[in-house]
Amino acid sequence: MSANRKAPEGRAKAPRWAIWLPLALFVGFVALVMTGLLKPADRTVRSALVGKPMPSFDLPPALPGRPGLSSAELANGKVHLVNIFASWCIPCRVEAPQLAQLQRAGVEIEGISVRDSRENLEGFLATNGDPFDSIGADDDGQVQLALGSSGVPETYIVDGKGVIRYQHVGEIRPEQLDVIIARIQEAGQ
């Protein structure tokens, strides 16, 4: 029987296992879709500036009688924590106790308030505490863009030479404090 069903000459006969090929391709495709569904990709947009010098900026003070923030001040030999925040940002309230704890530990924290108003900012600091040495007002959100920040809150660790060493996206939760402190120590070495 099989001898009669010889493939016509000039066309190569497919090997026997080839019949499973479409099924294998289909299973592979389903596996790919399932991994995408069950474990969605991380959509956090991180700054590509980590490891690079802080872009130069000079922000006016957000509050009268308090210093503003410029990139030159960040390169003064000390490690700084630059916290991007806003009074309208709910997660910023969540991270306030952690920032206070870092301040008590001797960390210098500088703030950049994004698209905020003076009255709202004062209210926010009165309710949630004020761990900031200085707060720069980024009313147009342009410095936020220059830093590669995609939202609030975000925290940058800047070393004494003004190089960004670490970026934390989102609020700093209590369990993340150890990592932050370790990174600050690393930046100080």
Partner: protein
């Protein structure tokens, strides 16, 4: 549009009083077009191919997120100052990575995407050439040979 927005915002506030009030972008060109139509056109073309970082999936031209407003202003201000659109795009990519651009960039990572169609085309040409050659050979040998095989 500028008069409609506050009204819309008021309606939205009535509907969801508990929602956080994100302050709208106060950047000068977030909601204002450039005076020069040609430059506004160039800015618009670029804005349509830049991703809003907050509402990912929308372009900054479509999105009403405050950060998209800041990005629109950045694009318009730089176009106004005479910067080329692709320079602005690479400035943003430098900070946010390729993800910020909808227009695909040719990089070390993405070149196979551009190369694979060419490779497939080449393979197709080679395969078809073989097939056409076979047909011509059969024609040249004439029907007599075909009869022999059968």
């Amino acid at each position: 549009m500028r008069r409609v927005l506050p009204a819309l915002a008021a309606v939205a506030m009535l509907g969801a009083p508990a929602l956080a009030q994100q302050e709208q972008s106060t950047a000068p060109f977030a909601y204002r077009q450039l005076d020069d139509p040609a430059k506004e056109r160039a800015a618009m073309d670029l804005m349509e191919t830049l991703r809003c970082l907050q509402c990912q999936g929308q372009s900054i031209a479509d999105s009403d997120a405050p950060i998209a407003g800041s990005m629109r202003s950045l694009v318009r201000e730089r176009i106004k100052a005479g910067e080329a659109p692709e320079e602005i795009r690479s400035w943003l990519i430098e900070r946010y990575g390729d993800y910020v651009s909808y227009a695909p960039q040719l990089t070390e990572l993405t070149w196979p995407l551009f190369a694979v169609p060419l490779v497939f085309l080449l393979i197709a040409v080679l395969l078809l050439r073989r097939r056409f050659t076979l047909v011509r050979e059969a024609e040249e040998h004439g029907p007599g040979h075909e009869g022999e095989e059968a």
